[in-house]
Symmetry: D2
Subunit: 305 residues, 4 copies
């Protein structure tokens, strides 16, 4: 019989908040009614807590828990990322009988097909998706799903500066106030613009099951416009025009995501937690600019009413 | 007069938890009494919150706040990382009159000189240091400092398995129980071992000012042994021997750090928050293994008494 | 009609070696006879050269070339990574009529199923695969495929030091020379060991089509032993034992890969290029250690004969 | 006497192209006449080759070589990065008597002070600097220095599309051809713009010693405009205006760098190798766009004459 060191009493009897493994890569298939299944290479971080009386966690059980759930997807398919992770935390609690809590953090890249705005050509988009589940033995659980999308943001501040400059130049050329005002509304003036990343993460509740597609829509609502891998010239014009008639700060992006979430997630209970983040990879700086909001749906509803 | 879009009212009147910039790189000199100053290339993330009534933050003020504090170090030197960041949050609150809270997160690499364990040759070690400060206008503040160090961890579980196997082999060779027991104590048996990373972060309080050197000592107390950039053969033997006579799980590493912190930080108030993390880059797996503990000093004292 | 700036003459008439896009992510399915298809999330970098007389490349054609080839895989499946990339460079040359050369660099992660060495439990392994194709208009082409695998390497130098130390200790305990020699052969002595990465890349020739499975075998031949995501105790003992009875430097790993490649790739022409690299994430240092060999198959055959 | 495994004969007698360590971090001070010294946290990769007859390299000698050179800088200061690396390869060849070749690759971040374009406020810029040295025993050596800078690039293609659109709109508003032409020249029209990275690397020759400042000037000559960490509103207007009156593809950036290098490096021998690369982190795509040119100074001179 091989010795089992993990079972012994530790020298220092202190409990641990979290013991586990990170970066477990798995191929996951999510079946969707009437569509072809989504295939993801996902990465899992899985943890349990550890009482002060036990030296170590049997970490191979973490892998077995993830494996068993994923293998079973073939005969018992899931339709949501969060269901996968709920099953994993259940398996973790079953296998680690000494643990009072289990957690899983999953991230994956999801390749979405879409069409360009003007030439209607088929192209694609890489979306990052996230899902977390945390469960206490015999009790409460917390589940989140989230997405991060890329888009373009055009700066409203620099555009106002360019407008003020341009109005003065047009006056010098001899145009009158009405003409200048008309021109300002008609043609897109320069500003700096950049690749932005919009992240939204929301708690999943018993009677509130947001879909990934809804989160993508919320995330995209914050930026000046969408971006595309293929852009024909007419598409490129469309993206640049739309983005420049719709300039937005990181602050605007977060606020607009929050507004859209309130509209979209009307069935979410007031105490549902939600988190928004916008990161702009500024074209005029070496650093990135960020805005965030952490709130409950109830708080957002109050602020918007 | 140039237009100032940030001042205007936003379309969506929602407050923001955090607006700022991340990845501001600065050269920082920390003066130390009787020693040559420490030079760091530090990276700062700086944030303020934003009320629902104001469209945007004047981000250039974040840079000016960081710059002003760092420029002033020449005539008004600091002796601690945390003092630098306290000054920065004070400047942020001064410059962003609409903010109720300011935050700064600093990280840097610090090159420590040290000597090899056996040949006593001079070598070096790269330590990651962290410092955070969070301050509410006219009120409370929270300050943390932390370090991350590299070391070697040897696995106790695999070593026990190898011992059981070896004892059986020695029996077959014809040795008696006393001889076998003596051999087991005398020679270092194989196990897998790996590069580990130990992280500890602790709250700085009015009457509790832990030094970076103390945090490094706490962090190093968890692993099987230290590692070195230069190792002569006698040093390499020493590191391997010591590590193998001192095998430790990630769980052990966190517990030993917690124990050392309780001994080292006896003057810390009971409600001082502290955080430990051990990451092992396992040599027998593709994934990393992690243990964590989040606690107050009072909780740790209770568990250890 | 929209203007087409790319077509115009550049201000500075200098030719460019390479213009293109990097980081194009695609889902790829490789069909295999009698097995389930391999699914990869691949990342492509695609380039063409540009004559001095033309201002710009129409980059959307790069995406269309990649897309067209990948879409066609459904009705015209491939069995090798390299065929995919040969098709892509052909499409690139077709679409960029001004280019004399096209290049594609593909990388992907491939999840391999395997069984643990002792308990025979199912587990998996993430393999990085690489494929490059470079083609001149109406002429020569160069095609490579490569893999990178993880494994464990145990250091022979530290183990010899431990052996010398242990022999002396056993002598002190009162064992004789024969007993000591027998013990040294029977039980695995400590040394430092670490996660290693073995990379091999070989040119694909008209009559020499190495398979990914063969490259994986070559890559794995260099290390002390394989690693696994799941290891039961008997497996963990097996991995540690085998690795410690098979200690290897980065230098050994590269040489053993070269030897195995010469055995495995007997049909490769003498002028076939091949490249080997071993990286060890040293457990006793903060830095990594590397060995490389760049050669033709003919050179390796000469050195080994 | 401790055993020395490296000295023994390898099982597989194949020579190795490169054996060494990567990621050795060091604090380096470069003295400059009449200015304060430049302080860098540099990272070194150091290699030697290995004959087929020797099992291993004594890697601690690599560190000692780097250490000795850097320690000696205090009493024997250098004025150029390349001198540091020439000394390191000399030390490597001295210490590894079996090697025929030594190589070092250094990279560092250099924090440059500069002033904003309009408000003249002090700010900074992080420049990446590179230096390589390769030396054969008793013979030839190859030395390179390089820099990478960040800047903004505005797309000429999208701007022409916006111009064509805008001209049509202005016509509809009732402006005449002269007015439209005047407006197009006077006000900056929208286009997508992004953070770009310009890289240039050039061979250092006996009679041609390019300075880092010159390389920075060449690298910056390719982009639409410089970027800054602090920008007051008048500066932000200036950056956006200048960038939009100066739109450039990645192709243009490389060509303009090549042209400036030919002007700047008139003393470089014709066979001096030089390499240019521009990477744009496109604001309208998820992928990056790249252009490169590899040439000798003589080839560039021919193409430009």
């Amino acid at each position: 019989m091989l010795p089992d060191v993990q079972l012994s009493k530790p020298d220092v009897e202190i409990g641990l908040s979290r013991v586990g493994a990170r970066g477990i890569r798995k191929l996951v298939q999510v079946r969707r009614e009437g569509k072809r299944p989504v295939i993801l290479i996902a990465s899992f971080d899985v943890y349990v807590d550890l009482p002060s009386t036990r030296k170590g966690v049997n970490l191979s059980r973490n892998f077995e828990a993830v494996d068993e759930v994923i293998e079973n997807l073939v005969r018992d398919p899931i339709e949501n990322m969060e269901d996968l992770n709920i099953r994993i935390v259940d398996e973790l609690l079953e296998r680690h009988e000494y643990a009072t809590k289990a957690e899983v953090f999953m991230k994956a890249e999801y390749i979405l097909r879409k069409r360009t705005p003007s030439s209607n050509q088929q192209t694609q988009e890489v979306i990052r998706i996230f899902s977390e589940a945390e469960k206490w033995r015999g009790g409460e659980s917390k589940i989140y799903i989230g997405v991060e999308v890329h888009g373009i943001t055009a700066c409203p501040c620099a555009q106002e500066l360019v407008k003020a400059y341009s109005a003065k130049r047009l006056e010098e050329i001899g145009l009158d106030a009405d003409q200048i005002s008309e021109i300002m509304k008609s043609i897109p003036l320069a500003t700096h613009n950049q690749r932005g990343r919009s992240f939204v993460k929301v708690e999943v509740r018993e009677n509130f099951r947001p879909r990934v597609e809804e989160l993508i829509e919320v995330a995209k609502s914050g930026m000046s416009y969408e971006i595309y891998e293929i852009l024909k010239r007419e598409d490129e014009l469309e993206v640049v025009m739309k983005a420049h008639f719709n300039p937005r700060f990181v602050e605007d992006a977060v606020r607009l995501m929050a507004k859209r979430a309130v509209e979209m997630f009307s069935s979410a209970p007031d105490d549902t937690r939600i988190y928004f983040r916008q990161i702009n990879e500024e074209s005029i700086h070496q650093h990135d600019v960020i805005a965030e909001r952490v709130a409950t749906m109830g708080e957002l509803r109050d602020e918007l009413s």
